[in-house]
């Protein structure tokens, strides 16, 4: 007896989405198999603190150009309990919308002072923070004139399920036409960073982005890492 879960939506105007989104509903996992679905990724904690400051290639190097921002928030499960010691991976475009990825053939300018890749861990209260350059929008589909709004990619390992998501910016004119944003519906607001003023001297502003990891699976990162 099959029980069905979500039907994943196909992002409008996105070819890859049409070609790769499963047409069948996801299957629910029977209780006896559920625990086995959550990967535990050991050995991922060799993180240099400087990796959270994406505004420079390395400490002491020149600041990348564009608007330097702080992003901070709390990682929680569905019950509001903090998820501590989780690995947060971040990648975003530079101020022109270009990535340093070797498959980005957009021709947008590359900033020699901006790698666009960072890592950090949530602390014992589930809080995290990192610093980056506010990404530019980019024209993802020149053939139909569709832009991707400015966004920061985040990947989290260590909660009750694996999560890859994106943080968007408030009031961006490209937000509403983004195909993935359309699939999110009203819940899109949860993926918009809330702007706040930073009193520290060398950042332009901050964005609060609390991340709630779904799923009822156990969290295997509850032990403190020494």
């Amino acid at each position: 007896m099959t029980k069905y879960g979500r039907q994943l939506g196909i992002g409008p105007t996105d070819n890859t989405s049409n070609e790769r989104t499963p047409r069948n509903k996801l299957n629910l996992i029977p209780e006896a198999a559920r625990k086995s679905f959550v990967p535990y990724a050991p050995g991922i904690h060799g993180i240099n603190l400087a990796e959270a400051d994406m505004t420079r290639i390395a400490p002491g190097r020149p600041r990348a150009s564009g608007e330097a921002i702080k992003v901070s928030g709390k990682l929680m499960d569905e019950y509001g309990r903090p998820i501590k010691n989780a690995l947060i991976e971040i990648w975003n475009a530079n101020q022109h919308g270009g990535y340093t990825h070797d498959e980005d053939h957009s021709g947008l300018p590359i900033d020699q002072n901006f790698l666009g890749i960072g890592r950090t861990l949530s602390n014992s209260d589930g809080n995290y923070e990192f610093w980056t350059i506010k990404p530019g929008a980019y024209l993802a589909r020149p053939d139909i004139g569709r832009w991707r709004p400015p966004h920061i990619h985040v990947s989290i390992i260590g909660g009750s399920s694996r999560l890859i998501s994106q943080m968007y910016f408030p009031n961006d004119p490209h937000n509403d036409k983004d195909p993935m944003r359309i699939l999110m519906g009203d819940n899109f607001k949860a993926n918009i960073g809330k702007k706040y003023n930073v009193t520290a001297n060398d950042f332009d502003c901050g964005y609060n982005f609390d991340i709630i990891i779904g799923g009822k699976n156990p969290t295997f990162f509850e032990n403190d890492i020494t």
């Binding site: 499963p22 629910l28 994106q166 999110m184």
Partner: protein, 197 residues
């Protein structure tokens, strides 16, 4: 992707979003896809049968899905998962974590691993999580076609019989296996919902 939250006192999970085309491969601890050598240059090796699984991820048109981020997760040959809560388990294999990930450039992959044992009443299986441009995360478990324990596996029994073969890793010769994962359409691989389950 949103899902309705029936219990009022629970928070709505952050929407999953596409990984996009530019996941940095350098974030994968090693892009080598060899789970049998977590520490290179030593004589210690994990217990069990070393196998290689050649596979690919295809789209609705049968074309390879380039740029997918693939994550693999499995128990060791004794059927024990290496987790925070099992680290001191006597059957944990210190030379095998059971976890690796890889960004496939063209949609093909070749996973070198140890054949998983039977864990917690389950047939031997490998959990695969797939992230790709244009889609949300999908997750499934792959089984070995020649395992008798498949007929009692609760996950396999939970889906229609005709779909079970789509989750089978087939043996092609000694220690060599293959699997085709089809994201959408005809012969679509069954995927599972670990948020609502």
């Amino acid at each position: 992707m949103t899902h309705s939250n029936k219990e009022i006192n629970r928070l709505t999970p952050t929407n999953e979003d596409t990984v996009g085309p530019y996941y940095p491969p350098s974030l994968c601890e090693n892009n080598s896809m060899d789970m049998t050598s977590i520490r290179s240059g030593i004589v210690f090796k994990p217990l069990g049968e070393k196998i290689t699984i050649k596979g690919c991820v295809k789209d609705i048109d049968g074309k390879l899905s380039n740029g997918c981020l693939l994550e693999f997760w499995q128990p060791n040959s004794q059927g024990v998962y290496y987790r925070a809560d099992t680290e001191s388990h006597e059957m944990v294999d210190p030379w095998f974590t059971g976890y690796t990930r890889h960004r496939t450039k063209d949609g093909n992959f070749s996973l070198t691993t140890i054949k998983p044992g039977t864990a917690d009443g389950r047939a031997p299986n490998i959990t695969v999580t797939i992230f790709s441009d244009g889609i949300m995360r999908v997750v499934t478990q792959l089984f070995f076609a020649d395992e008798k324990s498949n007929r009692d596996d609760p996950l396999l029994l939970s889906i229609p019989e005709e779909l079970r073969e789509r989750l089978m890793i087939n043996k092609i010769s000694d220690h060599k296996y293959e699997i085709e994962i089809i994201m959408a359409g005809k012969n679509e691989t069954p995927f599972f919902d670990d948020l609502l389950s």
